[in-house]
Amino acid sequence: MLIKRRPMLKESEVTDQRLYLNRREFMAGAAALALAPSLAAAGAPSGPATGQPLQATKNEKFRLTDAPTPFKDATNYNNFYEFGMDKEDPAKNGHLLKPRPWSVQVDGLAQKPKVFDIEEILRFPLEERVYALRCVEAWSMVIPWIGFPLAALLKQVEPMAKAKFVEFTTLKDPEQFPGQKPSFFGFSSIEWPYVEGLRLDEAMHPLTLLTVGMYGQVLPNQNGAPVRVVVPWKYGFKSAKSLVRIRLTEEQPKTAWEKAAPQEYGFYSNVNPTVDHPRWSQATERRIGEFIRRKTLMFNGYADQVASLYAGMDLKKNY
């Protein structure tokens, strides 16, 4: 007979496998800290830095079989207006962002609001998932992300019954994000900080991934380090990067792109080939690395998992 017992140690008390595997580096890092008093002031030893490998279990349930986009393309062709408006700007200016130390304030309508240190976020059981990423500009990539369901984090702060939405806020700091500096004419495309939002049921959906890495390594700065959200059935801009705050709200958050161009970018922004952007078609997309455009799939191919969230809704009106 099999007797199921609670493990004597809680998962959170076990030395993280990643730390365990990197114990030599950890010691080397500690030694370096001891030798460099100025660095020692920076505080506790930190997890793997940018470019370092990040351990994660492959989750076969969320594994797109399409070939992943080359790492070079996924890290050199980005929309991250905080670093500049050109696709090459994030890779060029990414070094300005300091992803450590970092913390994420999770509050609003929560029973147990909490500030999560990035090291604490990295201790959640990490998994690798291969998702399709569809940009609203009609191009797409396939990316192996590393993270864990956002639901796991939200459950820890215990959302109140009143909470209906989740608001995400990206760091605002023009020193680290040169794109946030006022331009010569004083106007900017969007209002800073970048704000995005999801309905609570969308945020709690198992597909919604709080993401800390990609391609087996720590999330590069130009891809939203140190922590971002990935919502694969929505256009890329819904997946807010470099998060400093996650807030539970009763009211639907006003998102950055909604404020900038409400007739073009709605709150939902689900990938939908039948609802065109007012200025271009969404019926097809160019997969980066491919020559001929491919047809865009409803909910970016995740219809069987998320269509029920929108049962009875007019998706043309709720674009």
Binding site: T69, N76, I190, A260, F291
Partner: protein, 211 residues
């Protein structure tokens, strides 16, 4: 300007105008067009079409401001290169981006306003390119030819809207090009008004002279 100098200047302009497409060819050969090469090439060619258009539109204001008249001889060459880049830009879009998907292309031209105005601009460039030869100037006669070639102002405006409407956010370069275009066209208007005023004043002055 002496004949030799004119040939030298024109040769220089030829080389400069062929530079953007040569750089593109080099980037293509070294596999350096980035993650989305088709989009890169389309943007590159579109940007240079607009730049060349602005340069050709800058020659008259240059004369108004500085009295420097000889650069006008380069206007036809610059205009034809504008047309050349516009055609390349269009070909990449039609042949490579849509890959002969005629139905989708037709839909795009009608439904996307930035493509509608872009197509209009290209169509307007065609008669100007056709009538660019000395023979055509003679056949049409100076007045009719000049009137026809005022189409270039409309082309500029269409190009500006094409650029302003296609981007996701507010692009500084689209606004910069539009501002330059506005300045170049505005100077013509200002100059025309000033000349009309001066003509009227001299007419008044002529009348007030006692006979």
């Amino acid at each position: 300007m002496k004949r030799n100098a004119r040939i030298a200047v024109k040769a220089g302009v030829w080389v400069l105008c062929l530079l953007p497409v040569s750089i593109l060819a080099y980037l293509a050969a070294t596999n350096d067009l980035g993650a989305n090469p088709i989009s890169f090439v389309t943007n590159w060619l579109g940007q240079w079409t607009f730049r060349l258009l602005l340069i050709s539109l800058a020659l008259t204001p240059l004369r108004i401001l500085t009295g420097l008249a000889w650069p006008i001889i380069l206007r036809r060459l610059l205009g034809l290169f504008t047309f050349f880049y516009a055609c390349l830009h269009f070909c990449v879009w039609i042949l490579i981006d849509h890959y002969f998907n005629w139905a989708q292309m037709a839909e795009d031209i009608i439904k996307r306003r930035y493509i509608t105005v872009g197509m209009l601009a290209l169509l307007c460039l065609i008669p100007l390119a056709i009538t660019s030869t000395n023979g055509m100037v003679k056949r049409l006669g100076g007045v009719a030819w000049r009137r026809l070639h005022r189409l270039v102002y409309l082309i500029g405006v269409l190009a500006a809207f094409h650029f302003l409407w296609l981007s996701k956010g507010i692009r500084a370069d689209a606004y910069l090009y539009t501002a330059i275009l506005t300045l170049l066209l505005g100077m013509r208007v200002f100059d025309a008004l000033r000349r009309r005023l001066r003509r009227r004043q001299s007419a008044v002055a002529a009348r007030s002279v006692p006979a």
